[in-house]
Symmetry: C2
DNA sequence: CATTAATGTTAGCGCTTACTTACATTTTTA
DNA sequence: TAAAAATGTAAGTAAGCGCTAACATTAATG
């Protein structure tokens, strides 16, 4: 049955994420999947193969192919907020995979790099090419587009991991949208006091 | 002997970092420390206690107590570069501990939070209070100082983990100082095209 | 130098783990 | 409905793990 295989894959994702590769036992995975342990081994020749196939089955995702055109119809701020939001969504969806990625770098450096690539690489490229376009239009300053993309996404990746894996009682900065707004604003216009950019508008409520 | 204890603690840091708590065996740790396995258990009643004491012995560090006054004598850009540099240095020094922190969140959530707190908390506060001072002096825009500090350090934390744990052949962005310069610049004056901030000076060498 | 403390050596216990064998039972398929 | 494929049950194997016991050896101490 195709169903059984998937149930095992899903259970293994959850348990590898929660307890790590060594900490999750095949017996436990089978139990969580609602199958006999032997059935697990009939589908996957070893625990290691199960791990690899689980990773393979969960790690690819396109998800923002046609995003670039959309961005061009938004203001710079809105475009960045859009990217940040989607990025955070994707990270949330792939929460378990990211946890595994953090836990098992030593076991599977290649696989982990592959996940990272699939998860971040595409969005970095999309954002970088958006920056390039805007720079050519004279709308942005000169900076390395890919480096800029990594800086921008890095702020959010770090925010995400901190929220998901470190913070316990969802404290101060749980307001996702407020964080996005503030980070985007910093990225757009910086922090140094200057002429215009006060943008005091939507700060304390009311719009 | 005091020496023996420390040798075991050091060996356990290295191996827990490399293979995780479950992956590192007491036999292997003892061998790396150059002692008999039994000696390890005479110093630490269990593998778990060894792990905890190792964490405790490595996780505290003040390291930038008197930094704030120093910062006030620097330009905004230089102050941020200074902070970023010190932050990256600290992360490099504590490389192994950070790896463990990533690997063992599920086992020791409390301990991991404590490390994170010791490692990042102090520097966040220092930077935030620097921001506050600068804002009161009218030198910076209005933004949440702690959130700003987290955004700034987040860019670098992400850069660090990417370099250390993901990238293999030190590729494109190995130039630490160039990354610091670009990130600081983005943070200071943003990315949106405006009036002044071309700052084309020290971009390609030659100051 | 004699006593005590710290370490080494070896062997092993009890437990868990990934994985297997043999056979019964269910489910799917033709 | 009969053959075939998928799953279950139960028992067990071999290996590795954390950890201990008993005793010998070395190093530090007074």
């Amino acid at each position: 049955m195709r169903d059984t295989r998937d149930k095992i894959l899903d259970a293994s994702l959850a348990l590898f994420s929660k307890k790590g590769f060594l900490g999750a036992t095949t017996k436990e995975i089978a139990k969580k999947a609602g199958v006999a342990e032997l059935t697990l081994f009939r589908h996957f020749s070893s625990k290691e193969r199960l791990f690899e196939e689980m990773i393979a089955s969960h790690s690819f995702l396109p998800a923002l192919k046609g995003l670039l055109p959309e961005l061009k119809e938004l203001s710079y701020r809105d475009a960045l907020a859009q990217i940040a939001g989607r990025f955070l969504n994707r990270l949330s969806e792939r929460r378990d995979l990211i946890k595994i990625m953090h836990s098992e770098i030593h076991l599977y450096p290649a696989k982990v790099r592959e996940i990272q690539q699939n998860l971040v690489g595409e969005i970095v490229k999309t954002l970088a090419s958006y920056f390039r376009g805007m720079q050519e239009g004279g709308l942005l300053k000169e900076f390395d587009p890919e480096l800029g993309a990594r800086a921008f996404l890095g702020m959010f990746f770090q925010y995400f991991t901190n929220q998901e894996f470190v913070v316990e009682s969802k404290q101060k900065f749980e307001n996702r949208d407020a964080v996005i707004r503030e980070y985007v604003n910093i990225f757009v216009s910086g922090t140094e006091a200057g002429k215009s950019n006060n943008w005091s508008g939507s700060r304390d409520g009311v719009i």
